[in-house]
């Protein structure tokens, strides 16, 4: 029974882990500009993240080593420093963006001033993370994030042209506005395969003291959890396409995304959407702040983990506290979380190879993995995605400049 429960909870957490502010911004805007044409990119990103989370979860379960351990052991000290600095910068940007999203959702729900809500959100997170246990946080946010499923209903109710939706799943190149199309391809892939997800996932597996007998659980979490998370991404893009494309609206505000649910479902729809966004983005805030703390602690060899409590891992606790304060500082400058999200996703794309290459290397090491080393399928997909990641990483910055961060 507890196994079924664990499975369900893991899947819920994974759904929450998959959908974050990056998915909201990129998928809905992509829908608003290109209709359903970019649905295929979500599929590619989804398979990529499933392949690599399964791999890093397996490494965590079998060897007890998390992703940043693998990075330091495999690519050498110097490259690990580069990986650490870039991942911390990207994590911090993402954290600030997610926390900004939390504050926006709270503002739309309560009508209170945005800046006050930022402070409130940061303080609430700090207290909750300090005091409560890991599972508890994951569960509450996971269940809250399920409200996002309202977007699946919205997407269906809006009555999209299903024939066009179908053709959107077939990979193709756009004939108009190629540069912007490419920008969105990179953005959608980037947000689906954000590195913080694997940092958090693998360290989370160790927090839950996974062993070889949890490999089935790992696979189910990766495939079903992210699979369902991907369904949400489809729904968001279809919603964007069905609602905004015909009206020529480009949603520049997170609130516009929530309003999309009001159109077909009324106030209840809006409320569910806002609560869903609040918890999805809130859970992503927790994932990113921990990812940042895991990485630094693992690089330095410090004790880490929620399961150690602040007393057992004080430097780890100090790290996430500092990250929260820094993110608060960034948001207080008044930077728009949506813009911040776009930059965070594109910079994270550049850092992708340094994260994924070491995972693939360790997952292939017999001395570590014994009979659980990568099989042909995992390696086939793993290598294929390395190529994809390299291309996307090289293209990210030029596209960002050429399209003026997607503004034209």
């Amino acid at each position: 029974m507890s196994k079924v429960l664990g499975l369900g909870l893991g899947i819920i957490a994974a759904i929450g882990g998959f959908v974050d502010i990056g998915d909201l911004v990129f998928n809905v805007s992509a829908g608003a500009i290109f209709g359903y044409q970019l649905l295929w990119v979500i599929v590619i990103g989804l398979i990529g993240i499933i392949v690599y989370t399964e791999m890093c979860g397996r490494v965590a379960a079998v060897s007890g080593r998390a992703v940043f351990d693998a990075i330091r052991e495999r690519v050498g000290f110097k490259a690990a420093v580069v990986a650490l600095v870039s991942s911390e910068v990207v994590n911090l940007m993402t954290l600030a963006a997610e926390l900004g999203g939390v504050a926006i959702a709270l503002q739309l729900l309560s009508g209170l001033p945005y800046r006050w809500l930022i402070v409130l959100a940061v303080v609430a997170f700090a207290v909750v993370i300090w005091v409560t246990s890991f599972e508890w946080i994951e569960r509450v946010f996971g269940f809250g994030g399920l409200c996002m499923l309202v977007f699946v209903v919205v997407a269906v109710k809006l009555g999209p042209d299903w024939g066009k939706v179908g053709t959107g799943f077939v990979p193709h190149i756009s004939h108009v506005n190629r540069m912007l199309y490419a920008y969105f391809v990179v953005g959608i892939l980037g947000t689906a395969m954000t590195p913080y997800e694997v940092y958090f996932y693998s360290s989370g597996g160790i927090e839950d003291q996974w062993s070889e007998k949890d490999l089935g659980l790992n696979r189910a979490n990766a495939v079903l959890g992210y699979g369902l998370g991907g369904t949400l991404s489809f729904a968001l893009m279809i919603t964007g396409g069905a609602l905004f494309l015909s009206r020529g609206i480009s949603p520049q505000h997170l609130g516009t995304v929530a309003l999309a649910a009001e159109q077909p479902l009324g106030r209840l729809g809006l409320l569910l959407a806002l609560v869903g966004i609040l918890f999805a983005v809130g859970s992503a805030s927790i994932d990113t702040v921990f990812a940042g703390a895991y990485n630094l602690a693992q690089f330095c060899g410090w004790e880490w983990g929620r399961y150690r409590h602040p007393r057992g891992a004080p430097r780890f606790a100090l790290t996430w506290l500092v990250l929260l304060v820094l993110a608060l500082g960034i948001l207080m400058t008044g930077v728009d979380p949506v813009i911040l999200t776009e930059y965070a996703v594109l910079f994270s794309v550049v850092a992708l190879p340094l994260t994924y290459v070491p995972i693939l290397l360790v997952a292939n090491d017999k001395a570590y993995m014994g009979r659980h080393v990568n099989g042909r399928i995992a390696n086939g997909f793993g290598l294929l995605y390395l190529v994809v990641i390299m291309i996307v990483a090289l293209a990210a910055i030029p596209l960002m400049i050429l399209t003026n961060v997607g503004q034209n």
Binding site: R74, V75, L361, V362, N364, D365, K366
Partner: protein
């Protein structure tokens, strides 16, 4: 005293001046009580091996006994013990 890091990425040459590539790792023998250094892993294949990519053929290891001297940024080994070019 030397450190492991002082060996890494150093160029390995033979006494007659032939370059064997860089040293990417040290081969050791681990027992319950000690860890002895037995050789230098050199060349591109050793780099791949260091990254955990292994092929079946034995990689290029120069035994420690072959080292004549360690000077500056180079490790000089005896010609007889160097792998064929």
């Amino acid at each position: 005293m030397r450190t492991l890091s002082s060996f890494l990425r150093r160029e390995v040459v033979t006494e007659s001046g032939r370059s064997l590539g860089r040293c990417y790792d040290l081969r050791g023998e681990l027992s319950a009580t000690n860890l002895r250094v037995t050789g230098l892993c050199i060349g591109r294949r050793a780099l791949l091996e260091h990254l955990g990519i292994r092929d079946q053929k034995p990689q290029t290891v120069v035994p420690w006994e072959a080292i004549v001297r360690i000077e500056g940024k180079q490790i000089v080994v005896r010609d007889d013990d160097a792998p064929a070019p």
